[in-house]
Symmetry: D2
Subunit: 346 residues, 4 copies
């Protein structure tokens, strides 16, 4: 009963099959292979973005930090939510890759930036002269770190604020599939059509072994990106094995099928929380549940072997009710979901 | 009538005289000269710290950022106040010099960190695993960015929290002289005797042209610091000219005399603010006044040619009352102080 | 007929099987899984180094650059051969990860450093004061970029020079298996027993998809390495999939079996070169052949579809004889090897 | 009798006078003062470059490294002479400021790059793909580290090679005044008119305390440079004191007068070397003499108290003849020059 993270789960059989298919004989390295070409094209199709530049890396931290370094100078200000993964969970990788860019963290309910808050922060930043660094970019996460989603309109409103100030908009989509599945819109609608300039499209949590796509919708923004990726050790010599994973997810809508499955499991747990007198801390719009549950319920869950994190404070043990996070993957076993749901229902 | 900053003012005649004295014939460069040796010794004497390593640089940003890089790895967490100069006003120099260290900003009235807040933040940081980076150091500013001062006891309480977690304590003393003059204690009492491990002792705002001292009380903490200073372009070939400035300030207690003068001018303005129906936002414990004054008073001050910043929001023009910052230097003309005081009194 | 690089080839079936085996249900991420533990132990066994710290990353550039950053400060001097991969082929990744360390390149026949040359360079570096930076480490490649190998005695002689100066010795073992297979010694003999402090053990060119092991023989040298790996985006959330690859190679001596196969193919080509009037530029001691062949032979090889690089100057087309590099993988088809050999024989 | 370096000498009285003049009352900080404006204008006049962007810093290492970071990305290749100051004597500051740019060092007699050698290196760099990084800029030193000078034609030939490849040309002019005085041309002729894009104009060795000018002839190349300077701690709050020094040197041709004086002293020593059976290693075209002298002469010089460096190997003590470097400043006492000359003559 592991609900600690979606990255605790496996790679989908179609991903494994794609790796096996790619594993045939000699191909030129460093991305000059047909699998990479096919996968890049598949991503462009998926996003309805025929001119986009698509590159693959193995980790979400690499994807995000490379985009930050690409879009911000060392003296740049990167606006993001105070709970953004790039702020809390990447060991200062954006600062490292960019050589010093400063993450300007902003509050916002449910992990979502508010246009007015963003606008005001950008205005203050613009007025700070050399002291505060130069406004560089805006980063949002979709689905957010609190399991909520930005709609296309939400994104457009933030993009409008960013673009008015001349700043590009980055979307950390470690759980992009879960967001799109939840929204029921197209990938294009919630990204470039809404004003997103760079997207990190997560594969790992979606059913890959270790694969993420970095997409720049305007090729000009990708200038020299390949050098940056190389210099940070994120170009695979046998690139086909990165590409094959994303190709599998992009094929036949597998990415959405898997995200749908994960989201549904989360909804099951959410309903159980509420039925059992717990309280949802956020609307459950993707594959994670943030809730408080009675301490007694928590004790029974732990006794039954359920693994999950207390959240946001891992030291909340002993509180009543207990705040926690439950994350579902495409392959969280249905019997585990049902077993935990039964406990949650009380 | 310039009250914009203490760095808008001049160098003291004794500093100029010391430069002239140092300007005689050939001396070996890069610090291997007798003036540097004498100045380093004078700083050690001033601090009653015979084993301390003393080095000179030309700017406060260099001093602070070099210490951050010395005491924090690229993946370090540096705890400081949310209004700390290193956070708000150094264009992400600490992040640049350290290659990514993250400033963990904390709230606190009057620009001062609170031990309990610091302790809790350090505890959370320690529990974050790789995600959040590694706890590295604590930085405080004395006098603070809000013109208040940490007493020796205040410092000791924070040092105790830091040291218990194995973290060194840095003091940004851009206005260290103002703090010591205000406290009436010794320089040692409020630094190493209270647990400070590294001190940036500001000369520029105290009456130098451009000179700051970086002091490591434990020589082991200064290991390889000279390489770091060199690699960042902060070793002067004609080092005697940096040293001579600090030597002048350290001689005959000039540093305290000048700080006393600046502090007294600030107290005069503070009294005038209160007499005129304005309100002090912070106790005036050094050479700066943070206050709100009636818009009408502000208008008359501006009309009289007074230069100062609205604070903290430079766009506060139009508010009533108006929040502002008045900074005095050792040589802010008494007639200017008196003229502004008269306006403030209404 | 692809002899461009060993990274143009596939992953071994045992590697694929290990990935499939690892792909079962939920495991905690970021290295806290049993596959990672087993693979780390297997590497320690292979190296007869029970105390070594073993970590996995996906690319050789990441492995090397992380070790450089771990063993050298920003102001460090890293001594290596002028043809070292870290110098010529990693897009300045060591400089980027270390934030400025300088690669001090030295000449040496066959890609091998000479103790006397190294010793002299270290002496000069030590005498340069701040100007030249501080001596930090020595890096060698085994097998070298010219297909030759360092024997255990060779390594010991260089280690002795390095250690005498207090510098650690790094071995870039992108083709470590080929070197050990060629030498017929144990992995321990040519590494820690000979004085190597940090080893990058290459999996990718040896039959993995994308996997390398970083090994610090003295755990103290690995201090905080995990933060460094995390901050650069090289910690996999589903770490088991990196580990499984190395585990497969380390099991049943597969790493040596595959390296032996690749080396044998290279020897076949080498013999053909000589039989056909070409000239070996270096002794063929691993899986690569560096040679000049008659232009006419080259033309026939190209006509037959052979893919390889002219070397070291890719623009040598038109020369007679033509300098080239032929690299064999464990799975370079025997019929391709034989076909090219036939052409080379003339 | 100090001939160790020109930075072992003093600041000119006119520089001291300018500092005293600038030291009057309040001026806004960070460059927003009239002295800075006047000095920037004076430099533009001196260079006959009305559109140039001029900025002041305190050290030559800062000036050079900031220009490298401005003109090269982290993955850039910077072409320079193997004896360039940026390569040998700045503790890897260019690599640090640029976050990894690689200095591609080239041979050349007398410290001068040759167009054909440069052209070939750039061609090879362009062909290296991601592996070798991206060609970024060319840097030359005038006067060179061997005391020779590039003529306007020399510079134009190198600029032509650089520009053809789309690369900007940087001139490290730590001893620019000595070069121009020696050439008898205008500052414009040997810089922007010959194709130089960025110039570091040295003040420190020319008679300042600590001041250098960074000049970008095309303002577009200076984009965001002020942020870079700020983030590295090289913006002075009391900027007038940097500016005043350069203003003094730029006034009434003082910079050339002082350089002429230093050059003449070097010519005196050079003639003495030759008269005494020593040998000049390079033509003496600026203020330094590189020569071998009989060991017996060297012994007498040392006995007489002469201070200078053996060169290039400081451990050459004991050789016969002895290679050495003699550097003259504007204020090397004539009696010292004559005394050493007498010894050199034998």
């Amino acid at each position: 009963m592991n609900f600690a993270s979606d990255n605790a789960y496996a790679a989908h059989p179609a991903v494994m099959a794609a790796l096996a298919r790619a594993n045939s004989g000699a191909m030129m390295g460093y991305g000059a292979d047909p699998v990479t070409a096919e996968a890049e094209a598949a991503m462009r199709d998926l996003l309805d973005a025929p001119d986009a530049v698509v590159r693959f890396v193995a980790t979400g931290t690499a994807a995000n930090a490379l985009v930050c370094a690409q879009l911000s100078p060392a003296f740049g200000r990167i606006y993001c939510h105070e709970d953004a993964h790039i702020e809390t969970s990447e060991c200062a990788a954006p600062e490292f890759f960019s050589h010093g860019a400063k993450l300007m963290t902003l509050p916002g309910s449910g992990g979502k930036l508010l246009p007015a808050v963003l606008s005001n922060a950008i205005r203050i930043g613009a007025g700070g002269g050399l002291n505060g660094g130069r406004n560089a970019m805006v980063s949002i996460t979709n689905a957010t770190e609190w399991g909520t989603v930005y709609t296309a309109d939400d994104v457009a409103a933030l993009a409008s604020v960013a673009h008015e100030a001349g700043l590009p908009l980055h979307m950390d989509g470690a759980r992009f599939a879960n967001a799109v599945a939840s929204l029921g819109c197209s990938a294009a609608d919630v990204t470039w059509r809404a004003g997103v300039d760079a997207l990190c499209f997560g594969g790992t949590k979606n059913g890959a072994m270790a694969a993420e796509a970095v997409i720049f919708f305007d090729p000009a923004r990708a200038e020299a990106f390949d050098y940056r990726r190389k210099q940070s050790g994120h170009v695979f010599s046998k690139s086909r094995f990165l590409a094959a994973q994303m190709l599998a997810l992009a094929s036949d809508g597998l990415w959405l099928t898997l995200a749908d499955a994960a989201n549904a499991k989360a909804r099951t747990l959410a309903a159980a929380v509420e039925a059992g007198g717990g309280q949802l801390l956020q609307p459950v719009q993707s594959n994670a549940v943030f809730a408080t549950v009675p301490a007694e319920t928590h004790a029974r869950a732990r006794a039954a072997g359920a693994v999950y994190h207390l959240w946001p404070d891992k030291s909340a043990e002993g509180m009543d009710p207990v705040p926690l996070r439950l994350v579902c993957a495409w392959d969280s076993p249905d019997e585990d979901v049902e077993a935990l749901a039964a406990i949650l229902r009380g």
